[in-house]
Symmetry: C2
Subunit: 111 residues, 2 copies
DNA sequence: TGACGATATGTCGGATGTGACATATACTCC
DNA sequence: GGAGTATATGTCACATCCGACATATCGTCA
């Protein structure tokens, strides 16, 4: 399956700003994939912020590294849905909560 | 993150039969991960069966191969959540539908 | 200003995942 | 029994992902 090729063009910049660029040349499923990732990513950051943990703390908890956590929270292309979901599960999220995250409407990022 | 190590012991056989072996030595999040995978996997098979497509047909549609589709539908350890979700998205599933699958209660496999 | 703590970005070696192919198994229908 | 079609299983080369490390950027406090 393709995907990463097109993704690359994205990460050059942008796509965190608006509403996840359908205005860019993403196929519907690519857009949906990125949307999903961003939702999980920002939920993860939210979770961590609420408990006032540093990325390093969180990393230790799920046996990862600070840099990878940063990438997770940024929805970096090098992070898979798989890792995001496993991480949330490792933090005790239930499948119901995961589902809620997935259906949630994404709140505007910054102003 | 560990995971695959333990998983290996599973695939020797079993784990498709009962209720996804908490009776095996899986940590809660590992169990949840496998559960999730199985739900998506069986939904995929269901989707395909309903349209009376062969695995080969489906594979062509999502640019994969018959064997990988078989593995996806079997929830094989070599298949990531990522691939399962991307495939469902590629088949036109909405995030809402994905979420529904995730929360769904799994029906008994065979008798 | 500088020092400090937190987060971001870049890179790399090794681990996992992926499509493809070969082959095995299963199930008709003749 | 064989032929034909579908699905399962094993393997492999190549791609992608991962944790780790180094380093850069940012924010705050003195």
């Amino acid at each position: 399956m393709m995907r990463e090729s097109k993704r690359k063009r994205l990460e050059a910049k942008g796509w965190r700003v608006g509403s996840t660029g359908e205005f860019l040349n993403l196929s519907p499923e690519e857009a949906a994939y990125v949307e999903l990732k961003i939702k999980l990513a920002s939920k993860l950051r939210e979770w961590r912020a609420r408990r006032r943990l540093t990325q390093g703390d969180l990393a230790r908890r799920v046996k990862s590294s600070q840099s990878r956590v940063a990438k997770m929270e940024a929805g970096d292309p090098s992070v898979s849905l798989d890792l995001l979901i496993r991480t949330l599960l490792a933090l005790g999220a239930s499948s119901r909560e995961i589902a809620r995250i997935i259906t949630s409407r994404r709140r505007a990022t910054a102003a």
